[in-house]
Structure formats: structure tokens, C-alpha cells
Amino acid sequence: MSGPSKNTTPKASVRRRPGLFRTAWRFGRTKVGVALTALIVLIAVLGPFVAPYTPTEFVAKPYETGVDGALFGGDNLGRDVLTRFMWGGWTLLLLAGSAAAVGVAAGTVVGIIAGYRRGWVDDVLMRTNDVLLAFPQLIAALLVMSIIGPKVWLIVAVIAVSHMPRVARVIREATRKVIEQDYVKAAEAIGLPRWRIMTVEILPNVTSPLLVELGLRLTYSIGVVAVLGFLGMGLQPPTADWGLMINENRQGMAVQPWAVALPVTAIAVLTVGANLITDGLSRAAIGIDRGVEK
């Protein structure tokens, strides 16, 4: 509480609270998450440059293990498992990353507008959201893929669209909390244009839930891209892709486990890593948001 003299504040209260990232970094799990994610990203990005063969080169018999020069043996067609593993990550990262980014961006715009404008704008946007939400994410993707065919831009678009209403719902809630605060009314009282209020007063104050949502959506995107590949509805052969690799090699899992185990482990480590970071961020965000109020 404030001491007897009002115009000089004690030194201690002058220091600013650390930001979201710094607070999150204090949790041990965030560090572990960053390490795990970095490991997989490194494999995915550098892999193609250091892989011993090209991804479509035949080096062994189908499902053959213990081949010289092929550490993890050959896959269902006899291509080098290690090489295909090292080539197969960046597509997954790129697709998941862009789907999450597009989905979260669109969801944020919709969420802020719906939350701030209320009235019929809110109604229309949110009812549309509800219809989009009536499809389980995977089913929507499968429906579109099966009819139009698996195309790269379509994978990104479908996943982004399925993220959009979920992100919008969260951001709309956050926006509602922000606009109950009087600084938004103060801006309205002086007649600040609505778009400026949304970008200057509201957006900076929903960044915490926004970052958490981005992390969450990234994790889900990785899952959906991988499962589409696994179901044969994602990237098509002969591309080296982790999800597709699992699909191609699952029949030989008992004789040649590496061709499945490698991509499966990579996906597991990547999603766990990303989720650990998200968890750290959300823990930090709860603390920070609590601090905003009295």
C-alpha cells in the first residue's frame, strides 16, 4: 500500500513486472519444451542438407534392415529410411506453421470485431462460427480433401478455416473482458475511430491469450497435418513426409519398426515440445492477466 508521502513512490514499486516471455522462461518446463522443439526443427531444417542419399533413391530391398550404409534400413520400397526421415520434416513444419498462422490471424480479426462491435455483427459472425464448429476438425478436412483432392494450399486452407472459429471464440471472450475496462470507454469518449480502438487499445491487451492460442493451434496443426498424411489424404507419394511415411510403412511395422518409429517419435517430441512452451506461456499469462486487475 502507499506510504504516508504521496509524491515520491518507494523504489520497489517502480520496477516493471517482467513480460510474458520472461515470466514463461522461468518455468523449467518451458526450457524443456524449447529444447525438444529446437531439436526437431533442427532435424527438419538441416536434414535435407546432410542426408546421405536422395529421398527417392533405392538402396535396399523393401523392409530390409542391417544394410551397409543405411543405418535404419530400407522402407517399403527399399529407399533409405534415414534419408526420408531427414527430408520429411520441413513440409510438416511449413504446412502446420502456415495453417496455424493464417487460422490464428483470421480468428483474431473475427474475434476482436465480434467482441467489440456486438449487436448483429457479433450475431452473424458467431452463428457462422457455430456452424463451422459443428464439424469435427478432421472430418471437415477429410470431406474437402476427398472431393477436391489433396492439394498443398487446400490442406493449409482447410486447417486454417477449422482453427478460425475456435480462435475467434477465445479472442472474443478476451476482447469482451478488455472492453469492459474503462480505458476503452475513455477512448470512445474522445471519439477515437473504431479501428484505432481495436488496434491500439484492444489488440495489445489480448496478446497473452493470443500467444497461448497460437501455440495451441500450432500443436493441433501438426497433429492434423500428420494424421492427414497418415490417412493418405495429405501430401502424396513420392514426397518424403513423416505422416505419409507412417502410412506407407505401417504394414511392415513388425519387421522394420524404424520406418514408423522415427517419424512417430519426431512428431511426438515436436508436439510435446510445442505444448510445453504453450503451457509455460499460459501459466505466465494467467499471472500477468491477474496483475492487470487490482
Partner: protein
């Protein structure tokens, strides 16, 4: 000068003291009680000792963060998460609660010592009927089901609530705030406890409801011979109610004594400061101001509402240049709707709002830049009125750039407005989180005065602040008014109004029931609502040397001299 107006309050005070003298046995003895926080090991309350006698009430006063609620809970041997009692005794009727095990404590709670919470709305279980919650408070296995129900009905009658089955079947959300608090009181008294801890039980209640609840508490403690500990930040309520006063500051009791002694001869500097900060309810000695011919703001025939519900009807108010007009009303009276309509934040109103001769549009977006610049608004809660992501400098310059234009010397603009709000220019680089509540409210005022407005609308701007900070903000407003600023001051605090307003409009249920010069309204109130409001507001008088510095007294002195 002040003697005559306060006889009523002094009477109640002496009656309470007289009643206490008849009993005398100390029921609650707290000795050297220390509570620490985990894991930091910081002492939240340190070495507190208090005693309360049968049938008496101890007023425990302190501002936010003084540890008064922690102390209140530890009297029931309850510690919030991550806190712990590490030393001292809490003796209730001879038994030390702090030394008992969980089971022993549980047996004494409700029977030997009971608790009345600050907000019954969240302390009553929303999923349980009132009957269940009342019955279980009387956990006495020797009583039959019939006896328990009889006792519950009896205590409900005592707190003036219905005692029929239909009422017992209700859920908490079906009651009004005052009724919920009565249920909480009944729940505490149902087990005839020896000690009762009341944690700000009237915060959030209207003055009239507060007066009734306080009266109930007073009668119940006297009738039952219970020792009461009344925790509050409100010196006026405590002065009115308590037989003994203990003042808490940063986890310690800095002063304790008989109520009359503490009020007449405070020993500790903090006690004195706290006492002086409470505005006096002035009912005489006001200067008569001559209203101008053409007022700056004229509201006539204003009717406002939300959807189909009407909140305000037929409002006529005016504010002249350099004048302070107060809008006084309790929660739900529509006072905030009125001030928001003037600021262009509430759009659903009809009627005329003239500012400087020109009609103001309903929405701020349809008003001219000059109008928006010249009418500024200061919000109730400074913790919500500043964008947490902007520095003070940007908070002030943002509206300035939008309404006035790009300043030639931005630093000078910021420094000047901060100075007018009595803050050093170095505060410009701070973020809101680096400011205390009072400082935040000063920044809000600086932001409002930066554009050089003619009218400042102040919506309960002191109610979220501690009383000592409130006094300073009021002084600041006085200064601004002397510089020629007109103020529309919205509040529920009649004592504050009696000190700062030139004229006052009293709002009740959406209508102005009384409107006139503050001296006239305070000394000769015409409407019965105003009379009840003045009578129900707790007040006290100070007689120690230096008491003239108190807000209100100095003014009165000056009025007499001039």
C-alpha cells in the same frame, strides 16, 4: 459551531459505552498473534494482541493491505492458502484456538466463534437452499431435527427475515443484497457464539441498508452478550458502532483504546491521519454561490434507459463555469447513466443536453472535436481506466493529438498536465502497473486536463481508493475548480458532497428528488429521502488539537472568517 449537528451521533456513542460498562468479562483474548506468508516468510501480521469483552464490539480499522482480513480469519484459526499462524494465542472463552487440532477447531467454529463475510453473494453456496445452509451452521448433535428448525426460524425472525418454509427453500440468488447479508448474520448467530468476527459486512450496501444491518448487528451482539470484532476501512462506521477501536497499519496494531479516547486523543500519527482524512458531514456554514445567467451545461427533460427499462426520467440539471455540481445517489439510482449520457458514452436518451449553448449529440462520435475536447470524463476505477500497455506519456498524448493536434513540444504538454495533477514530470515514462491507485487516478485526471476542458465529469472517482488517498484527490479537484474548471461530481458519499459541491442534485430511482445549493439541501432537506440519507450516514466529531485540518472543518472556518 459543530456541536449542535452531532449531538445525535455522540448520544449513540455514549450509550454504547454505557452498555459495555455493565458487562466486563473478556471473552476473546488474542496475544502476540503472528501470521506469515509462505514461501517468502514475510510477516503478514506480527505480534497482534487484542481483547474483547462480552457484549462489546471492537472496531478493527485499517486501509487495504493492512492485514485486517488475515487477522479476522486467524481468529477462527483459519489461514488462507500459503499463510500460516506461527506464534501467539487466540483464546476464546479460555480455550486457545491456535493450539487446537483440526477437529477441535471445527467443534468450536460456529459455536464459540462465528464469521460474517464481506460479500454474502459469494459466501453463500449458490447450489444449496438457504434452509440447508442455515441448519448445518448449528452442528449440535444433541438437538433434534425439530429443535434445529425451531432455532433457525427464531434467528431468522430476529434478523427480520421471513421464517416460513417457502423462504427456507430459496436459493441465495433469489434474495437482495441486504437480505443475503441478513442471512449471513443469522447463520453466524444461530449457534449462539461467544465471539463473532465481522469482515466489512456492509461494504457494497446502500447507506440506508447499511444503517439497518448495523442496527441489527448492534442489537444482536448486545442481546446475545457476544463479543464482536468489526473489521472495516470506514472510520465513520467504526466510530459509530464500536466500543473499542484498534488501528492496524502494515500488519501491526498501532493504536488501541476506548472509542471515545481514540477519537478525542489519537496517539499514533497514522491514526490521526486516518481520522483527518474522513470527510465531515457538513450541514451548515456553506457559502452561497450566485449561479450564472447562462450555465455551461444545461440538461433538461433527459430520459434515459437500456432497451425497454427506463433508468432516468425527466432530469433537469445545470452546471455553471467554475462551479461544482454533485450528483448524489445510491447504487442503481442512475447517476452513472446520467454522467455517461453527458459524456456521450450512453446513447439511449432523449431530452436536451446543451453545452455552451449548443446541443450535444447522443454519441460522442457525432459531437464536434471541440465539444469532445471541452467535456472530459474521469472514471471510477483507476485500475481499469488506463491502458496497461501504454506509458503515462502516451496515455496523455494520445487524446491530445486526437483532439488538439500534434503538439510542438510534447514533453511540455505532458509535464504541464502532470503538474496540474500534482505529479512530477518524471512519471511520464512509467507504465500504469508502476503506479499506486492514487497515482493512477492522478494520471487519469492529468489525461483529462491535458486538453484544457471546461467541464470535468467525475464518476465516483474516489470510491476505489483508500480514504487517505481520497482526501488528496478531493484537494486536487478543489484546486482545479479554483482555476475555473466546472465539475460534475458523481458520488454516493454525502459527506464528500457536503464538502466540495456548490450545488447538489439528489437522485433516487432515476429521478431528482431534491436539487439546490448544497447549504440549503444539507441544513434544511425538504425530501424525506434526503433526510433519511443524512440521518443514516454515520459520522463522528474530532476534538483533539490539530483536528481543524480535517476536510470540511478548514472550509467551515474559512467560511466563517470570510
Amino acid at each position: 459551531m459543530t456541536e449542535n449537528e452531532h449531538t445525535e451521533n455522540t448520544d449513540t456513542g455514549s450509550a454504547a459505552t454505557g452498555g459495555a460498562a455493565r458487562s466486563g468479562e473478556a471473552v476473546l483474548v488474542v496475544d502476540g498473534l503472528t501470521v506469515i506468508g509462505r514461501p517468502s516468510d514475510v510477516e503478514i501480521i506480527s505480534g497482534v494482541s487484542i481483547t474483547v469483552k462480552r457484549g462489546e464490539i471492537l472496531g478493527l480499522v485499517g486501509e487495504s493491505g493492512s492485514g485486517k482480513t488475515t487477522l479476522g480469519l486467524s481468529l477462527l484459526a483459519h489461514c488462507k492458502r500459503a499463510t500460516e499462524i506461527t506464534g501467539g494465542q487466540v483464546r476464546v472463552g479460555g480455550q486457545d484456538l491456535a493450539g487446537l487440532d483440526e477437529k477441535g477447531v471445527r467443534r468450536l467454529r460456529g459455536r464459540a466463534v462465528a464469521y460474517i463475510p464481506q460479500s454474502p453473494a459469494s459466501a453463500l453456496n449458490p447450489a444449496l437452499r438457504l434452509g440447508v445452509q442455515l441448519r448445518e451452521a448449528l452442528h449440535d448433535d444433541s438437538l433434534s431435527e425439530q429443535d434445529v428448525l425451531g432455532r433457525v426460524r427464531e434467528v431468522l425472525r430476529e434478523v427480520a427475515l421471513p421464517d416460513d418454509d417457502a423462504f427456507l427453500r430459496r436459493y441465495p440468488h433469489q434474495l437482495s443484497g441486504g437480505q443475503q447479508q441478513r442471512v449471513a448474520i443469522a447463520m453466524a448467530f444461530v449457534g449462539r457464539p461467544e465471539v463473532i468476527v465481522l469482515d466489512e459486512p456492509t461494504t457494497g450496501l446502500d447507506v440506508t441498508t447499511q444503517a439497518h444491518v448495523l442496527e441489527t448487528i448492534r442489537a444482536m451482539t448486545r442481546d446475545y452478550g457476544t463479543a464482536g470484532v468489526y473489521i472495516s476501512h470506514d472510520m465513520a462506521v467504526v466510530a459509530d458502532l464500536a466500543d473499542e477501536i484498534a488501528v492496524m497499519y502494515q500488519g501491526e496494531v498501532v493504536e488501541r483504546g476506548r472509542a471515545a479516547e481514540v477519537l478525542s486523543d489519537p496517539r499514533h500519527a497514522y491514526t490521526r491521519k486516518l481520522l483527518l482524512a474522513v470527510p465531515l458531514l457538513r450541514t451548515s456554514g456553506h457559502e452561497e454561490a450566485e449561479p450564472e445567467e447562462e450555465p455551461l451545461l444545461r440538461v433538461s427533460g433527459l430520459t434515459a434507459g437500456y432497451g425497454r427499462t427506463k433508468v432516468l426520467e425527466g432530469i433537469d440539471v445545470s452546471v455553471s463555469r467554475g462551479e461544482c455540481v454533485a450528483l448524489l445517489g445510491e447504487s442503481g439510482s442512475g447517476k452513472t447513466t446520467l454522467s455517461r449520457s453527458v459524456a456521450g458514452l450512453h446513447h439511449q436518451f432523449t431530452g436536451e443536453v446543451l453545452f455552451d449553448g449548443d446541443r450535444l449529440a447522443t454519441s460522442s462520435y457525432r459531437r464536434t472535436a471541440a465539444q469532445r475536447r471541452r467535456v472530459q470524463y474521469v472514471f471510477q476505477n483507476p485500475y481499469e481506466a488506463l491502458n496497461p500497455r501504454k506509458r503515462v506519456r502516451e496515455q496523455i498524448l494520445g487524446p491530445y493529438r486526437h483532439l488538439v493536434g500534434r503538439p510542438e513540444d510534447p514533453d511540455a504538454v505532458v509535464a504541464e498536465s502532470l503538474e496540474r495533477a500534482a505529479l512530477p514530470a518524471s512519471y511520464a515514462d512509467r507504465f500504469p502497473e508502476q503506479l499506486s491507485g492514487g497515482e493512477r487516478q492522478r494520471v487519469c485526471i492529468a489525461r483529462a486536463v491535458a486538453t484544457d476542458p471546461a467541464l470535468l465529469v467525475c464518476d465516483e472517482i474516489t470510491s476505489a481508493l483508500d480514504v487517505s488517498v481520497q482526501a488528496e484527490i478531493v484537494k486536487l479537484l478543489h484546486g482545479l475548480q479554483e482555476q475555473g474548471m466546472a465539475l460534475l461530481f458523481v458520488t454516493h458519499n454525502i459527506a464528500l458532497v457536503s464538502n466540495i459541491a456548490d450545488r447538489v442534485a439528489i437522485l433516487n430511482k432515476g429521478e431528482i428528488v431534491e436539487y439546490g445549493p448544497v447549504g440549503q439541501v444539507m441544513s434544511a432537506p425538504e425530501h424525506e429521502y434526503t433526510r433519511a440519507l443524512i440521518a443514516d450516514t454515520p459520522d463522528f466529531e474530532l476534538s483533539f488539537p490539530g483536528a481543524q485540518e480535517r476536510l470540511g472543518l478548514a472550509e467551515e472556518e474559512r467560511a466563517v472568517e470570510g
